[in-house]
Subunit: 550 residues, 2 copies
């Protein structure tokens, strides 16, 4: 493979990174048998695991909830090594069909599993649980900094030495890190494509995106090549990919989960912040992640974090739910609206008060103008500089989020202050609107139910409207996504009489045809007021119960 | 007086503002009798109230704790109007001798008091309590913007209409606003001098400063012309003035108390933030302020605030106190060290564990380099522009905090990010040092006990070292100051053998002579970890009990 420092072109450097990944995958033992070659991949990858994996591997990777699997591991009814190997092989399969990994940690994971198996007593809230992680360390998209690619591996080794607060916490609780997943150029697309690893595809339909920026995680977990992964969300990067593959995802309020040791562009930028969070196969996994992450009191190490452990919320009576049918800018596709209708009906049936969240007067479009400028107060120069340094091409969705946003420019300090004032005024106005729902003897709305995207998983390259997730980043409202249904062309017909309201609405409207999205997972989003993280997950429990789920 | 818009020079505008103030003071009835003229003012103003006010006014203004006075008002054993008039007259006296007011709210306060007296039942946690406020609205120092001076009054009227979150809360709880107090040019001196109002002096010694930037409040409360005032603190602006007049002051963690409706330079700047807080004649007033301020759930209106009501803390065993004898940069004057010794001894006597806070390795000077740059990421251009616009002179302490800090310059966005990273790294390092006190079977330190200034009240113009307060702003640690003793030349002799460590240390050392500071109040400071606001006030209770106070 050679040493990275001798590589000259971006193509050589990207090739080196892929070779590293391939070498890690070549360790899989026994080899995967029965994976179709690239030209014969089926549209959906959902039937492949049964063809490739053993019945026992299928059982381990898809027949248990996280809680159940943790119980089996704790009771030593199953070896950590057996669980780890099953997920390693299934992750390798996920990579073969969705291109979701940057590295399979074969040796490291097995060594760790054997260590855990050798302990006299099981120890830790995550004992033996395999966890996959987004490739946070190192600027993958920007290949310019030779060192950063080296650091990509070096930093990971460093996790184990104590440089990453969140992963150290999970490690201390007995988890097994076993796979690292792809992210897009700049980590600022709602899809997952980079010049290093190419495109990650949706395990339900390879012509659709698995979302982004945590789209490697979503493709992997959507294949059940992992059951709990770590993502990060500054504009939808947990929720969008989770929604597109029908898994659970949670974006906490910022400053709730630590990022010490993470490596991302824009370090020190305070205008708008992301937050790490869970992506999981089941709802309980969300709360487990938060509980464990905060039990370590991370604010004692990263002092900007909120000083509050996870404090489960219990509704004394059924929550009051406000349904946001659209955001006043872009009309969601028919399956999203059907999902809202179905869930709202179930909530009413279960005795909840359900009202409309009429946000047209709240001007979400203005919110986007503020947010898109806040993303890049340097005009995007830092990330554009990294891209330029290596000579790699700027991908279309990078152009979209920097060059095609008229608000993006390098700001003076005074312009920055003015923009932050605008942001705070917008937040205050939204808070006021929420509080007003409690006026006049009404109960205040507990949570908003809304789509996490204008549609189900989107055809590649078309994720050019962020409003359904990013608006809650602007407001710093916690939000969870959960699976509801799948696109059904018989039910989700296109409204041919609809007249789009603006060019974005038209772009989204024109994209829809039921057949194009057939069987794509459809998810919804539950949103709470700032720092009401626990209430959001409690509301999700109530809503899913209303839907007839346990 | 004429209309402001026709005024041309800064002298005319400042004269107009003073005339407004004087007109408000001319309403005092009965007139103050027996106030010495300007040339015959005694060094200390402490004996003047008895000479000028009636015995009943003395009783009302100085013989009750805040809690006791609130009880009398609630039980209607005393009229709100009588209390209000007593404080109005005493405030007018404080103005005559210390120059601490920008406006006496004679008519408004009496009207408000009469309204409260007319209510069938007393209502609110602050029923009838007179509250003084720092002149937050309008850029007093920068006379350039004609409108801002008009707004100074207009905004105040607007409080009553609902534009200031904090004052609205107090208003809803039944308080009486009765006086507004001075602040320095730029609101960024640890003294109180402006081209509008001149200099505010210390009521214990007019040759010394009352501190700043809330030095109007401290002079007023130090004269008991008020018993509860509102200050704000971004570098010591509550604690320094409170310490210099021997009253109580508390700087909460930022984002705990709201600032919606306040008008200060640098709105939208996020690098380092101030926080409003109480300045009071007794300890219970601190907690009362916080409890009432947070009971209104201000985060529902100002969404960036921490979602947490005031949650009193109770020590299960005596707190562990670490004494910071010096900050590694500037040696405190002898009375400060004596106060530390006396209080530390009392704490030990009361069964507390008392250790040293050895912070030389923590490099407080580096902290100042970061902080001073963070104060002015625009190089100070905004406030310098306001000053330039009117043509008013730049005062020496303005020059000190902007021009004489080598770190201050207009930053690019990337330089800003790098500086914020440095700040966060510094905070993390300090947090780590604090956590380490709990290693190896030791109990972790609960609070740090330290001086709130290198000395007692400082001679005018000499407040050129901020380290003893500002360091806790950099770290966002909550901190309370409390009175301990007074400078006693017999006890607080100068150490003639001391060799200063650096030029700042020399400046501070050379300033000291016992006679110069005779009888100046000496206060100390209790500091807690970020967001442990409640613990700091609980520790203050324990420490004062150890000192034999109730």
């Amino acid at each position: 493979m050679g040493s990275l420092v001798h590589l000259q072109t971006w193509e050589e450097k990207a090739g080196w990174a892929r070779a590293q990944r391939d070498a890690s995958l070549a360790k899989v033992e026994p080899k995967l048998d029965g994976v179709p070659d690239a030209h014969n991949m089926p549209l959906s990858s959902q039937d492949l695991p049964k063809a490739v994996l053993t019945p026992r591997e299928i059982e381990i990777t898809e027949q248990y909830t996280i809680t159940k699997l943790l119980g089996l591991l704790r009771d030593r009814k199953i070896k950590v090594e057996e669980v780890t190997r099953a997920f390693l092989r299934r992750a390798a399969l996920a990579q073969a069909v969705t291109n979701c990994l940057t590295e399979l940690l074969w040796d490291e994971a097995i060594e760790r599993a054997r260590h855990l198996d050798s302990l006299p007593e099981p120890r830790g809230a995550l004992f033996g649980l395999p966890i996959s992680t987004k490739e946070h360390h190192g600027m993958v998209g920007g290949m310019g900094k030779t060192k950063s690619v080296v650091t990509t591996s070096a930093s990971f080794v460093a996790w184990h030495g104590g440089s990453n607060l969140l992963y150290d916490t999970f490690w201390d609780q007995g988890c097994v890190f076993f796979a690292r997943t792809t992210q897009p150029q700049t980590i600022m697309h709602l899809e997952t494509e980079s010049n290093v690893y190419g495109r990650t595809v949706n395990p339900y339909n390879r012509e659709l995106t698995s979302g982004g920026s945590s789209g490697g995680e979503s493709a992997l977990i959507g294949m059940r090549g992992s059951i709990l992964g770590v993502g990060g969300d500054i504009g939808g990067s947990i929720r969008c990919p989770a929604a597109h593959v029908g898994i659970y995802g949670f974006k906490p309020s910022i400053k709730r989960v630590g990022t010490t040791g993470f490596r991302t562009p824009g370090a020190g930028k305070e205008t708008i912040s992301g937050c790490p969070g869970p992506m999981t196969v089941d709802r309980d996994g969300l709360e487990l992640f938060m509980k464990v992450a905060l039990s370590a009191k991370p604010w004692r190490v990263e002092p900007s974090l909120t000083v509050k452990e996870w404090t489960p919320y219990q509704f004394a009576r059924p929550p009051k739910v406000a349904v946001q049918w659209w955001d006043g800018v872009v009309r969601p596709h028919p399956p999203m609206t059907r999902a809202l209708r179905e869930v709202a009906a179930a909530c009413r049936e279960a005795g909840m008060e359900v009202v409309d969240w009429d946000c047209e007067g709240l001007d979400h479009e203005k919110g986007w103008d503020i947010l898109s400028a806040l993303y890049w107060p340097d005009g995007g120069e830092e990330v554009l500089g990294l891209i330029k340094e290596s000579g790699e091409p700027i991908l279309p969705l990078t152009k979209f989020i920097i060059h095609e946003q008229p608000t993006v420019k390098e700001l003076t300090q005074h312009e920055l202050w003015q923009l932050c004032v605008k942001r705070d005024e917008y937040r205050a106005r939204y808070a006021q609107a929420w509080s007003k729902t409690g006026n006049g003897g009404n109960r205040e709305v507990d949570v908003i139910l809304c789509p996490p995207s204008f549609g189900a998983a989107i055809p590649h390259g078309q994720s050019r409207y962020w409003g359904y997730t990013a608006h809650w980043n602007l407001l710093d409202y916690p939000a969870a996504v959960f699976p509801v249904t799948k696109v059904d062309p018989a039910l989700d017909v296109k409204d041919l009489s609809y007249v789009p309201k603006n060019s974005q609405d038209k772009f989204v409207y024109d994209m829809y045809s039921p057949e194009r999205f057939r069987n794509a997972p459809v998810s919804l989003q539950v949103v709470g007021r700032r720092q009401e993280d626990e209430k959001v997950l409690a509301a999700l429990v109530e809503i899913e119960r209303a839907m007839g789920r346990a």
